[in-house]
C-alpha cells in the first residue's frame, strides 16, 4: 500500500520532467520534498525515463550534500559552520549539543534527532546560528547551548 503510493508519486514527478534535458537535480529536489529523502525505489523509474545509467544517477545523487538517501531524523539540528559562526564558537556549541543530545560516541544513528552541517548563507548577525527543523535560532552563545539542547530534547520527546 505504502510502497505503491511511493511509486505513484515518483512516477508523477518523473512524468512532469520526461523528455527534458538537464532536469535531474530538479527531479531529485522534488522527490526529496515529497518524501524527505530520495528513496532507492526512485532510481529505476528515473533511470528509465531519462535514459541515464543507474550508476551515473547514483553518482549524481550522492555527490551533492543536500540530497539524503535515508529518511531524515524527526528533529533535525542544522549547525552553520561558516567563518563567522566558527570564530564565535560554533564548534564548542556543536560539541555541547552533541553531548547533551546523546549524539557523541556510539549512539550516532538516531531517528529522533540528528545534527548536520549547514553552509553559510550570510545570516551572520545570528552567529553562532543553529537551525532546529529549519527554524533559525541565534545567536546561540556557548553559555546558551545547554538550554537549547534541553529545548530540542523536549521537542524530541513531544
Amino acid at each position: 500500500m505504502l510502497q505503491s503510493r511511493i511509486g505513484e508519486t515518483i512516477d508523477q514527478i518523473v512524468n512532469e520532467y520526461r523528455g527534458r534535458r538537464g532536469v535531474l537535480l530538479q527531479v531529485f529536489h522534488r522527490i526529496q520534498e515529497a518524501f524527505g529523502y530520495v528513496p532507492p525505489e526512485a532510481m529505476e523509474p528515473i533511470a528509465a525515463a531519462f535514459r541515464i545509467p543507474p550508476s551515473t544517477l547514483f553518482g549524481t545523487l550522492t555527490f551533492y550534500s543536500e540530497f539524503r538517501t535515508e529518511p531524515p531524523a524527526r528533529v533535525q539540528v542544522g549547525m552553520c559552520l561558516g567563518p563567522t559562526c566558527h570564530i564565535k564558537g560554533a564548534e564548542v556549541v556543536k560539541q555541547i549539543l552533541e553531548y547533551r543530545l546523546g549524539l557523541s560516541g556510539e549512539h550516532d544513528a538516531s531517528l529522533d534527532v540528528a545534527i548536520h552541517e549547514v553552509e553559510c548563507a550570510g545570516h551572520c548577525h545570528l552567529a553562532p546560528l543553529v537551525y532546529v527543523n529549519g527554524m533559525p535560532e541565534g545567536p546561540v552563545e556557548v553559555s546558551a547551548a545547554q538550554q537549547l539542547a534541553d529545548r530540542i530534547l523536549s521537542q524530541v520527546s513531544a
Partner: protein, 627 residues
C-alpha cells in the same frame, strides 16, 4: 519603442502616490530576524483599525544589522525607513506614525533630500555617502516580486535601447569601452567573453548565470537575486540578444531558497509582459531561461563543474580547453558570467559606458559589492567604488570593531582566497592591489578578525572546507588537501613538528598540478597567512602555544582544590555542559579527557578556575626527517 513605453505607462499607472504605503523589507536576512511576523502584525493592525494604507514588501537595502526594516511613505512625504521594527513594536509604531509622531528614535533615515524633523536624509549620512549605489539603486525601494515596480524605476530601459537600434556588435563595443570585467573574481573582460560566444558557430548556444555563491561569508549575490531579480534577468536577456543564445540557465545555490523562488516568480512575470520568451517587446528577438537549483556543492561554482551539474552529472570540473565558449552545456557554446556582471549590463546600456568606466579609484573600474561579516559591528552589504580603502568600509559602513579588541586582519575571497593583516587597512579594494601581493580579492566577502581569532585555526577551517568540497577527480587536490588539513590540525593540537611548515610549502607545488582552480588555490589561504602571520604559526609549531588562546587543544583548565569545596564545587559541577567536572575528596576536579574547554566553569566561578598552557600532549613530539 512603443511596446516598452506602453509597459512603463501601465506600470506607473499602477502606483498610487496619494495613498499611505507601508513596506516591510523581505529578504532572507530580514526573514531570519522575524520580518514575516512584523509584516503580519502590521497587516493585522491596518485591518483592525480600518486604516487606508497599502501594505507590501520591498527588498532588503543592505543594512542587515537593522532588519527588519519598514519603509513608510506618507502622502506628500519622502519615504522614511525604520529599523529594527519587531512584531511587538509594530502596532505601537504604526499608531505613532499615523498620529503624526514620526518616531525619529526608530528611524534610520529618509530617502528624500531634506530632513523631516530629526530624521536625517540618507544622502547626508556617511554610511550612504561613501557608497555609490549603481547596482543597488532599487534595493529596499521596490517590490522584487512585482515587475511593475521594476519597470516604473527605469527597469528594462537597457533592453529597450538594445532592441531599438543597437546591433550586437555595438553592445560588445559598449561593454569593452566601459571595460566591464567579470565580477566573480577572475576579472576577464565581459565584452570579449560575449564576443567569443557571438562569433561561435551554430545556433544552439547557452548563457549561464553563476549564482552558486558558495564562498562562506560572501552573500552579495544573494541580495541582488532576492531584492532585484529583474536586473539580472534583464542583463541576461541582453546577453541573449548580443550572443545569439536563445536560452539561459541561472544556477542558484540551494542555500538561497528565497532567491530561487523570487527569480522564478520574476521569470513568470517577465514572460507575461512579453519581456521574455518569444518575440520580446514585439521584435523578432526571442530568448528564454530557467532556474537551476543547486544541491550543495561548492565546486559547482567553477564554471565547468557548474556545466556538468546542469547536465545531470556530478559537479566535477574538467580540464580546459575546450573552454565553455567552444563546448559548454550539452557540448554547445556557452557563456558563464557572475550575477554582478550580468546585473551591470542594463545600466551600461541605458547610461553609457562612462557611467561605469568613470568610477573607480584604482586600476579596475566600476563599483563592487562587498559583504561585511565576522567581528564587525554592523553586518551589511555595501556597494562602493572599486579601490575604496578598507578603512572606509570597516569604519564608516561596518561601524568598526568592538573597541575592547584590536583589529587583526581580514579573511577575504572565500576559502580559496587568503588572509590579509591589519596594516592593509588603507589599501584600496581593487583586485590589482591584491594580485600584486600574490593573493586575490575574490567575489566580495570580507570577514573581519580581531585578536581573539587564531589564524592557524582559521586556516585549518578554510582548508578543511576546501578538502571537504574537493570533487575528488585529481589526486593532488583530493589527497593534498587532506594532508594539509592533517598538518594544520596537528599545529592546532600542539603536536606538529618543525618539518610540517616545509611540507606545507611543498604541498603547494604539488597542488598546482590539480586540473582546476579549486585544487590549485587550496594552498592560498595558508600561503597568505604564513606570509603575514608567520610568528603565529611558529608559536604553534615550536612552542605549542596559541597566541590568541583560540586553539582549545593548547590550553587546559584547572580547578584550585582549596577554593572549590561545598557550594562552589556544586556550582562548578552544575556549570559543566559535558559533565567533565566531578567531586572528589570534597572538592571539584576536571576530568581532562572529557573537558572540551568551553570555559563555562571559569565564567561561573572565575576565582576557582584557571587556564594555563597545556603541557602534556596526545602524541610525543618527535622530529621527522623527510627527503
Amino acid at each position: 519603442m512603443q511596446a516598452y513605453e506602453a509597459l512603463v505607462a501601465q506600470a506607473q499607472a499602477a502606483a498610487r502616490p496619494s495613498r499611505t504605503l507601508i513596506q516591510v523589507s523581505m529578504d532572507s536576512g530580514a526573514q531570519h530576524r522575524g520580518a514575516q511576523d512584523t509584516l503580519a502584525a502590521i497587516r493585522t493592525a491596518v485591518a483592525d483599525r480600518g486604516i487606508d494604507a497599502e501594505v507590501g514588501i520591498v527588498g532588503g537595502n543592505g543594512m542587515c544589522w537593522a532588519e527588519p526594516l519598514v519603509r513608510l511613505t506618507l502622502p506628500n512625504q519622502a519615504p522614511v525607513v525604520y529599523g529594527p521594527v519587531t512584531a511587538a513594536d509594530a502596532p505601537q509604531w504604526l499608531g505613532d506614525v499615523l498620529a503624526g509622531n514620526l518616531r525619529p528614535d526608530l528611524a534610520l533615515g529618509t530617502e528624500g533630500e531634506t530632513a523631516i524633523g530629526d530624521i536625517v536624509p540618507f544622502s547626508q549620512q556617511p554610511y550612504f555617502q561613501v557608497q555609490r549605489r549603481n547596482l543597488l539603486a532599487r534595493m529596499g525601494k521596490t517590490d522584487p516580486e512585482n515587475v511593475d515596480h521594476y519597470l516604473a524605476t527605469s527597469g528594462y530601459a537597457g533592453l529597450d535601447k538594445a532592441l531599438d537600434g543597437l546591433s550586437p556588435e555595438d553592445i560588445v563595443k559598449l561593454l569593452l569601452d566601459g571595460n566591464l570585467t567579470g565580477r566573480g573574481g577572475a576579472n576577464f573582460p565581459a565584452g570579449r567573453k560575449w564576443d567569443f560566444l557571438r562569433t561561435a558557430r551554430g545556433t544552439e548556444k547557452y548563457l549561464i548565470c553563476n549564482a552558486d555563491e558558495g564562498d562562506p561569508g560572501a552573500f552579495v549575490n544573494r541580495i541582488l537575486l532576492e531584492s532585484d531579480p529583474f536586473l539580472v534577468i534583464e542583463g541576461m536577456t541582453i546577453g541573449g540578444y548580443v550572443t545569439g543564445a536563445p536560452y539561459g540557465f541561472i544556477y542558484i545555490r540551494d542555500e538561497y531558497p528565497l532567491a530561487v523562488e523570487r527569480v522564478r516568480k520574476a521569470l513568470d512575470q517577465a514572460r507575461a509582459r512579453g519581456l521574455l520568451g518569444k518575440n520580446i517587446l514585439g521584435t523578432d528577438f526571442s530568448y528564454d531561461m530557467e532556474v537551476v537549483r543547486g544541491a550543495g556543492a561548492y565546486v559547482c561554482g567553477e564554471e565547468t563543474g557548474l556545466i556538468a551539474s546542469i547536465q545531470d552529472y556530478r559537479g566535477m570540473p574538467r580540464i580546459k580547453p575546450p573552454f565553455p565558449a567552444q563546448a559548454g552545456v550539452f557540448m554547445k557554446p556557452t557563456n558563464v558570467n557572475n550575477v554582478e556582471t550580468y546585473a551591470y549590463v542594463p545600466g551600461i546600456l541605458a547610461n553609457g559606458p562612462e557611467w561605469f568606466s568613470s568610477v573607480g579609484l584604482g586600476v579596475n573600474k566600476g563599483t563592487k559589492l562587498f559583504s561585511l561579516s565576522g567581528r564587525i559591528n554592523r553586518l551589511c552589504i555595501v556597494e562602493v567604488d572599486m579601490g575604496t580603502p578598507i578603512r572606509t568600509l570597516m569604519e564608516t559602513c561596518g561601524g568598526g570593531l568592538d573597541p575592547a579588541h584590536t583589529f587583526k586582519g581580514i579573511q577575504q575571497g572565500g576559502p580559496l582566497g587568503g588572509v590579509i593583516p591589519a596594516d592593509w587597512i588603507d589599501t584600496g579594494l581593487d583586485p590589482a592591489n591584491f594580485n600584486s601581493q600574490g593573493t586575490i580579492m575574490g567575489s566580495g566577502g570580507l570577514i573581519f578578525l580581531d585578536e581573539r581569532d587564531c589564524i592557524v585555526d582559521l586556516c585549518k577551517w578554510l582548508t578543511h572546507f576546501d578538502s571537504k568540497e574537493s570533487c575528488g577527480r585529481c589526486t593532488t587536490c583530493r589527497i593534498g588537501s587532506m594532508r594539509m588539513v592533517d598538518i594544520l590540525d596537528r599545529m592546532t593540537k600542539g603536536i606538529a613538528v618543525a618539518d610540517d611548515l616545509a611540507i606545507m610549502q611543498h604541498l603547494e607545488l604539488v597542488m598546482n598540478n590539480a586540473n582546476c582552480v579549486h585544487g590549485q588555490f587550496t594552498p592560498k589561504p595558508f600561503n597568505a597567512a604564513y606570509k603575514w602571520f608567520k610568528a603565529e604559526f611558529e608559536a604553534h609549531v615550536f612552542e605549542h602555544r596559541c597566541p590568541s588562546s583560540a586553539c582549545r587543544d593548547l590550553v587546559q583548565y584547572t580547578i584550585d582544590p582549596a577554593k572549590a569545596t561545598g557550594a562552589v564545587a556544586a556550582a562548578l559541577v552544575a556549570s559543566c555542559p559535558v559533565d567533565a567536572i566531578v567531586t572528589a575528596a570534597d572538592s571539584a576536579v576536571i576530568v581532562q579527557d572529557k573537558c572540551i574547554r568551553c570555559g563555562l566553569c571559569q565564567a561561573a566561578v572565575p576565582d576557582a578556575v584557571s587556564v594555563s598552557p597545556r603541557t602534556t600532549f596526545e602524541a610525543p613530539v618527535r622530529e621527522v626527517r623527510y627527503g
